[in-house]
């Protein structure tokens, strides 16, 4: 069975990629993923805030109270050099993973505003990453910013990063755009090598005792795959870039569905966190079994077969689908 696929110009042995998560923080875990069959690994994200706030905090706290009192003109020795630890550790981890596994290692940079943090794209490339996933995680809370402003920001971010590095760049997106198809097209035109659909925003929760907003992470459920499925199907016909389905991939069926709508790869983390790395192997086996049973020869053969362009009933991806669903539950 030919499970190979191409993603961001990289030839992968199968369409199962480990998505950005804490799993990639451990070299042994990544090695195990490779052993169990993962075709590539997207590393956990290096956040803009990690890069910037660390520098700011350091500047603030080292200078706090300095040059204000005659006996204590500073409160800390001035070290020769500072390293941004989070960032340095991240780069070290890229290098370590590259020297440990043979599968492609995709770095992940998570940020919003244009600025110095983007220099880390180059550093990640230099550390050996095969590609970079740019995760633009932006909550548009500013009422003065129009959707056009926001779209422009995404495109500019991508262009800046592209200008800094030679390795392929995928953009991980949220679905919350007024004109998602157009947004995807803009990014495609701006040179994105891939689009990763979709980012799962960590939605806030409330702590009733403390009357505070609390942030925690809920793992995904298979149902969440529905959204990427729709949009991959819609985008596939006119997007040149690779497409990756992420959020809700938990089994071989999920992989098959995503590939059929047009995904070049499927990415999973929740399933691996919940049920172990061994799931990659199991899913691959299920995938092969299903393909054999249904007499498919390769992933390429089924890729995009159920996209908007090729599906028997394209309207199912549109509003009609909605009406149909509603009617079905009456």
């Amino acid at each position: 069975m030919d499970l190979t696929t191409k993603y961001l110009g990289l030839k992968l042995k199968n369409p199962i990629v480990s998505s950005a998560s804490s799993l990639s923080a451990h070299v042994d875990t990544v090695k195990e993923m490779e052993d169990k069959g993962a075709s590539a690994v997207v590393m956990y994200s290096l956040f803009e805030e990690q890069i910037l706030q660390e520098a700011e905090a350091l500047d603030t706290y080292l200078m706090q109270g300095a040059n204000a009192f005659a006996e204590a003109l500073s409160y800390f020795p001035e070290p020769e050099t500072f390293e941004n630890r989070d960032a340095e550790e991240y780069l070290n981890q890229v290098s370590k993973l590259k020297s440990t596994v043979d599968i492609p290692v995709i770095g992940s940079l998570n940020g919003v505003s244009a600025g110095g943090w983007m220099d880390y794209a180059k550093k990640i490339e230099d550390a050996g990453a095969d590609a970079l996933e740019l995760n633009i995680y932006y909550i548009p809370t500013d009422p003065t910013k129009s959707s056009a402003d926001i779209e422009k920001m995404y495109v500019e971010d991508l262009k800046t990063v592209k200008s800094k590095i030679k390795i392929p760049v995928a953009v991980k997106l949220s679905p919350y755009f007024s004109a998602f198809a157009n947004m995807a097209k803009q990014l495609d035109d701006a040179g994105a090598d891939g689009l990763v659909l979709f980012n799962r925003f960590y939605q806030p929760d409330i702590d009733l005792e403390e009357l505070e907003v609390k942030a925690d992470l809920e793992l995904s459920t298979p149902y969440e795959l529905r959204l990427p499925l729709r949009w991959i199907a819609i985008l596939r016909p006119f997007i040149k870039a690779s497409l990756a389905a992420t959020s809700g991939i938990h089994d071989a069926h999920g992989v098959l569905k995503a590939v059929m709508t047009g995904a070049d790869v499927t990415m999973m983390a929740s399933e691996l966190i919940r049920n172990g790395i061994g799931r990659i192997d199991a899913i691959l086996k299920d995938l092969v079994a299903w393909m054999e049973e249904h007499e498919y020869e390769s992933i390429e053969q089924m890729k995009g077969s159920l996209s908007y362009k090729t599906v028997a009933e394209p309207a199912a991806y549109e509003r009609a689908n909605y009406m149909k669903v509603l009617q079905s539950v009456r």
Partner: protein, 1186 residues
């Protein structure tokens, strides 16, 4: 190797050389010498090698006594060894200095000379300390400028190696140690050329070594000691020539020429000043200025003070000399004259006696100047020279003060200024927190190192650690700068904080036609009318060029927050003309890149942006030709302040302390308490506002407030009748108070520093708006007037009867009036809440011995002090002796109190019949266990005093003077960890062992906070501190466990942020315990590196991770058959890394050396676990097992 020009201060110049020509360095922090040790430690931490290719070993000791011991030992063992110190530190070295000199050991001690505490402590510069060691046998070489510090550090080392006489190389504290100056940096080659390796090897060979053993340090008897003492004479005789030889060699190598005594001035001078130290620089300029005008004046500048070469001294004078004024920067009360004066007189006399004086015996007078960095200006110098023209000049005069008591002082002309227009003189008034000083240091570097110009910077700080005002004095010019005094008339003057104009008459310092830059929160068209009347008048009269910028708006816009340093610096370069504008701006940007580069690109970009925005927002204001303002400058203290405060304190607050005559000063250093209440500093931009409807009345905000600006009172509702309209109150909760009573939390907004600790600890939240608490921050200015009125109204509400409060609870204790208020401590200070608590509980009968350190500075630094009195006029009596002796000092209080109490009891016993047996018996048997008991005893004492007033026996007189001792007194010994763990530990241990009833409060910040964060033995594993630049590898000393080992000492370790009730209980138990008690209090500190508003959270994390243990060890329990140790914390539930990762002091290691950080964390975890195991094991033991 070419020498480069650098802009550095004197401390750095000394450390730079000393580190390269020594092998062992033993250090201990003391202002103003600490930076020399810090630099050395940093050099070694960075792996910098000395000229022989090895990295000098730098070791921090527990005291200067310890440092000198280690130096002595290292020297005896043959290493080239040095140390750095000042003031009391040098005094602690004296015993070893006699030994080192007696043993003819080559070494140089670098001393930034500082006043010795007498009627008061002073951190500033004079020669009291070095003059106190002139009899030790050390040679003494004085540097007068930063360049000379660098040069003489090397010359003295070269000389000591040849002469075998050890040297004190000294320069003036602050004026030279902290003056930033452009100097030529000596190279390693210079040093190699100056230091003779054969002499180094000879020194090494004299070291103690079992391979060829010798014995030193014998005890000698009357038969030979004297002769032995005289053996050194030939060495001292040769030393001056050796020093001159080293100076000559230096001149050949480097080009700068020095002599043992340098003469400057008119070649045929008749009037000559003699002095040494930084003042000589000002004298040089002045005599040259006057000589150029034809006055026959000059100066002999003393370089080598010991051994004093009379021959060379006399030879330095022009043969035309007729009158000499010898100036000493020290005071020796009761002497025949100050030391240099006496030496000069002796020299002239001896030379006359020997017939070697090449001119007639001159008129010689001596005078004192410049004590504690008192200004020494050309006007003063001229006054001294003018005095010499008189037939009978005043001898033993003073210059620089107005002495209306002993009439020693000379008058001087304050308008006599010798600086020309070729020097750019800039004065900058800023806040400590706004970055003004940092920016100015940067400007000096830019100009000093980036252009041909010479540059000088000197910075004046006020005595507060919060909201402190800084004044920067910057000079730039084509020629070397010798003006070792503050700028008198500035041609550029900048006010970085608009509010200063209301308090500080800064324009007084503006020269005619000067440029005045003002940071104002107003548009340029409105600024003029916001100025004070006085400011407007001066701007018009002096024809100032007036520029404004709204720097805070620019800072906000460019993401700089409240930091206006780069913005104001840009303004200076844009309008001062010191450099072409474009060149200057480029240089600022280069400097930004250099300074902030390692902290990240964002910081650099932010600053670049600020520079660009500044230029767009800087405006020149067209100055109207008449005054329009009605705004007057604010009087420094309120009208109701007492006379002394109006008369003296107000002058100090106004920054006019220099104008106070001697008669205004208390003769013995005794000052009134409770004066901070009159200094309304208004430094908090935002202040807490109480929401009475949300408040649950827990009083936590009151407890944590470091400055005692949040107060709670419970009172009868009737009191509200005349309350101001905005005065807030609510019904008091709980059954402990009478029905209908009211509760108020009142904030002294004018005294608040805006730290936000109160908001962070407030547990009450609004149900409709949970982001809002029962106390929230709001801008101060709109609240100022109303809250001032409310505050004074609140103060007039009677205190609740303290005998009826549950004061062993946090809530109850916080209704007690704090008798420690509005100190100058940092915003968010972690120490002061504990001190305040002690004063609430025991303040009216408390006497405090305070170790030198943060607590003695915010507790006792003028102009105003925070220890206060209650409505009855009672309150803590406070004193500071030294750093090292505080436990003993406090024990002395106890000994006296016990003795006086005993005497009073004995007298009362004997007078039972006269005063009434019942009253006497009641007094003698009073329990005084709690507040009610004490109140009753006070009543009895009043009756006793009334009785005694009717009896005229000597016993009655004595008992009257001692009766107050019959009310229980509470002795508190307070200090930081530097004192308790290090320098004062020996004494503290002895006092604990004394069994006497003293209460020791250790404010444990885990570093020497007051001197800028040096490592102490309380510093925990993995923390970066000065002298532990790579992180401290060893763990924190367990002081509590050591104290517990005695068995009869009450010991508590507390952290208010983890359990405030435990803190209150510990204070109560410690005070009640009739024996020694020690409370070790976790005190968060600015030197930990995080926003101090979260201080209490960090305390909690420290305990939850097990890094800080909470317990009370009460020997009383043992008497009841119980285990005296009670743990007040639980098994650690979070890893230590959760705590350590929140503080910069630990995080820094991770940034510099992540592997080391991991090891530190593992080690810290192990310690936390072990301490838990140990303590929990001990706490579980049966009492009999212990």
């Amino acid at each position: 190797m070419a020498r480069k020009m650098v802009t550095i201060d004197g401390n750095e110049a000394a450390a730079y050389v000393a580190h390269k020509i020594n092998e062992v360095i033993a250090i201990y922090p003391i202002t103003p010498s600490s930076p020399m040790g810090e630099h050395s430690d940093e050099y070694s931490a960075k792996g910098e090698k000395n000229i022989w290719g090895t990295i000098p070993s730098v070791t921090e000791m527990q005291s200067e006594g310890g440092a000198s011991g280690a130096v002595h030992g290292a020297l005896q063992a043959g290493a080239l060894t040095t140390t750095f110190t000042a003031s009391q530190g040098l005094l602690l070295m004296i015993p070893n200095m006699y030994k080192i000199a007696g043993e003819l050991t080559s070494t140089v001690f670098h001393v930034s000379a500082r006043s010795i505490a007498a009627q008061a402590l002073s951190i500033f510069g004079d020669h009291s300390d070095v003059m106190a060691v002139r009899s030790t046998g050390f040679g003494m070489l004085a540097s007068n400028s930063v360049q000379e510090v660098m040069d003489f550090a090397l010359i003295s080392q070269a000389a000591t190696l040849e002469a075998r006489v050890p040297f004190v190389h000294f320069f003036d504290g602050f004026r030279t140690s902290h003056e930033v100056m452009k100097v030529e940096q000596l190279t390693r080659d210079d040093m190699k050329a100056m230091i003779d390796d054969d002499l180094v090897i000879a020194h090494r060979k004299r070291g103690l070594n079992p391979e060829h053993p010798v014995l030193r340090g014998t005890a000698q008897n009357p038969d030979v000691f004297f002769q032995g003492r005289e053996t050194v004479n030939p060495y001292y005789e040769k030393t001056p020539a050796i020093v001159q030889k080293a100076m000559d060699k230096f001149a050949k190598i480097v080009g700068r020429e020095y002599h043992l005594f340098d003469y400057v001035g008119h070649p045929e001078a008749e009037r000559v000043i003699v002095l040494m130290g930084s003042g000589a620089e000002a004298v040089r300029d002045t005599v040259e200025y006057l000589s150029a005008k034809g006055e026959k004046v000059g100066a002999v500048i003393v370089r080598l003070y010991r051994p004093f070469s009379m021959k060379d001294f006399v030879a330095a004078f022009p043969k035309t000399t007729k009158a000499v004024a010898v100036l000493d920067r020290t005071k020796e009360p009761g002497s025949a004259g100050e030391p240099l004066y006496q030496d000069a007189v002796t020299a002239f006399t001896e030379m006359v006696t020997e017939g070697k004086l090449p001119f007639n015996f001159p008129k010689v007078i001596g005078g004192r100047y410049g004590l504690s960095s008192k200004e020494f200006t050309p006007g003063m110098i001229k006054a001294v020279l003018d005095e010499l023209t008189k037939e009978a000049p005043k001898n033993h005069f003073t210059i620089g003060i107005h002495d209306d008591v002993s009439h020693t002082s000379l008058e001087w002309d304050k308008s006599f200024i010798i600086e020309g227009d070729d020097v750019v003189r800039g004065m900058f008034f800023g806040l400590g927190s706004d970055g003004t000083v940092g920016a100015n240091k940067n400007s000096i570097k830019i100009i000093g190192e980036g252009t041909e110009n010479y540059a000088q910077g000197y910075f004046v700080y006020d005595s507060k650690k919060s909201g402190s005002v800084t004044t920067s004095h910057l000079r730039f010019g084509k020629n070397p700068i010798h003006s070792t005094y503050l700028i008198e008339k500035a041609n550029f003057l900048a006010c970085h904080q608009f509010v200063f104009l209301e308090h500080i008459d800064m324009l007084e310092n503006a020269a005619e036609g000067a440029t005045f830059l003002l940071n104002a929160p107003y548009p340029k068209d409105e600024v003029w009318n916001k100025l004070t009347k006085d400011a407007q008048q001066q701007i018009i009269d002096k024809k100032l060029k007036f520029y404004v910028i709204d720097a805070y708006s620019v800072a906000k816009k460019t993401g700089m927050g409240a930091r206006i340093n780069t913005i104001m610096q840009t303004c200076f370069f844009a309008i001062s003309g010191v450099l072409p504008k474009d060149e200057a701006i480029q240089k600022i940007k280069d400097a930004i890149k250099k300074t902030y580069g390692k902290k990240g690109d964002k910081i650099v970009q932010m600053n670049f942006n600020a520079v660009d925005q500044t230029l767009e927002n800087l405006y020149e204001v067209e100055v109207p030709n008449q005054v329009t303002s009605q705004i007057e400058m604010v009087h420094p203290v309120p009208e109701h302040a007492p006379d002394f405060v109006q008369d003296v304190t107000a002058t100090l607050i106004a920054g006019k302390g220099d104008d106070l005559p001697v008669s205004k000063m208390p003769a013995d250093g005794t000052w009134p308490t409770g004066t901070t209440q009159y200094e309304k500093r208004n430094v908090g931009l935002e202040v807490p506002v109480w929401e009475e409807d949300l408040c649950i009345q827990c009083n936590k905000c009151v407890a944590v407030c470091p400055h005692a600006v949040i107060r709670a009172k419970v009172y009868d509702e009737a009191i509200l009748e005349n309350a101001p309209e905005t005065f807030k109150s609510t019904k008091v909760r709980g059954r402990d108070f009478p029905e209908g009573y009211k509760y108020t939390i009142q904030v002294a907004v004018e005294d608040c520093t805006g730290c936000e600790l109160c908001v962070e600890v407030c547990p009450a939240k609004s149900k409709t708006e949970p982001g809002k608490k029962a106390i929230n921050m709001a801008p101060q200015i709109p609240l100022r007037e109303t809250e001032r009125e409310n505050w004074y109204y609140f103060l007039d509400i009677p205190e609740y009867d303290r005998s009826k409060l549950k004061i062993d609870t946090l809530k109850g204790s916080q209704f007690l009036q704090p008798l420690f208020e509005f100190s100058g401590a940092c915003p968010g200070c972690g120490e002061t809440p504990y001190i305040k608590l002690a004063t609430q509980l025991f303040g009216d009968r408390m006497v405090v011995a305070n170790a030198t350190g943060c607590s003695s500075i915010y507790g006792g630094n003028l102009p105003t002090t925070p220890w206060a009195k209650n409505h009855d006029g009672r309150g803590p009596a406070w004193s500071n002796s030294l750093f090292e002796d505080n436990a003993e000092f406090g024990l002395g209080f106890r000994l006296t109190i016990d003795k006086q109490t005993q005497q009073a009891r004995e007298l009362l016993e004997g007078m039972k019949n006269e005063v009434g047996a019942e009253l006497a018996e009641a007094i003698l048997t009073a329990d005084q266990h709690d507040e009610a008991d004490i109140a009753e005893q006070r009543e009895r004492i009043i009756k006793l005093e009334e009785k005694l007033a009717t009896i005229s026996t000597p016993e009655a007189k004595h008992l009257t003077s001692l009766a107050e001792y019959l009310v229980k007194k509470s002795v508190w010994i307070i200090g930081g960890d530097g004192w308790a763990y290090d320098i004062g530990y020996g004494g503290l241990d002895h006092v604990l062992a004394s069994g006497k009833n003293v209460n020791i409060l250790v404010l444990d910040t885990e570093v020497y906070s007051n001197t800028g964060g040096q490592m102490s033995k309380a510093t925990p594993t993995g923390a970066v501190a000065k002298f532990a630049a790579s992180g401290k590898p060893l763990g924190k000393k367990d002081l509590g466990m050591l104290a517990m080992a005695y068995g009869n000492v009450y010991v508590a370790q507390v952290a208010m942020g983890y359990n405030d009730t435990q803190t209150v209980k510990a204070f109560m138990e410690a005070e009640r315990y009739d024996g020694p008690s020690i409370i070790i209090a976790y005190s968060h500190c600015i030197a930990h590196g995080y926003n101090l508003k979260d201080g209490m959270k960090h305390q909690k994390l420290a305990v939850e991770s097990g890094i800080w243990q909470m317990y009370r060890f009460n020997p009383e329990a043992e008497k009841e058959g119980k285990n005296p140790l009670r743990l007040d914390y639980k098994e650690p539930k979070i890893p230590v890394s959760d705590y350590m990762s929140t503080e910069t002091r630990f995080n820094m290691v991770n940034k510099m050396n992540p592997e080391a950080a991991k090891e530190f964390i593992a080690h810290a975890q192990e310690q936390a676990n072990k301490r838990w195991e140990k303590y929990s094991h001990l706490a579980k033991m049966e009492a009999s097992e212990k």
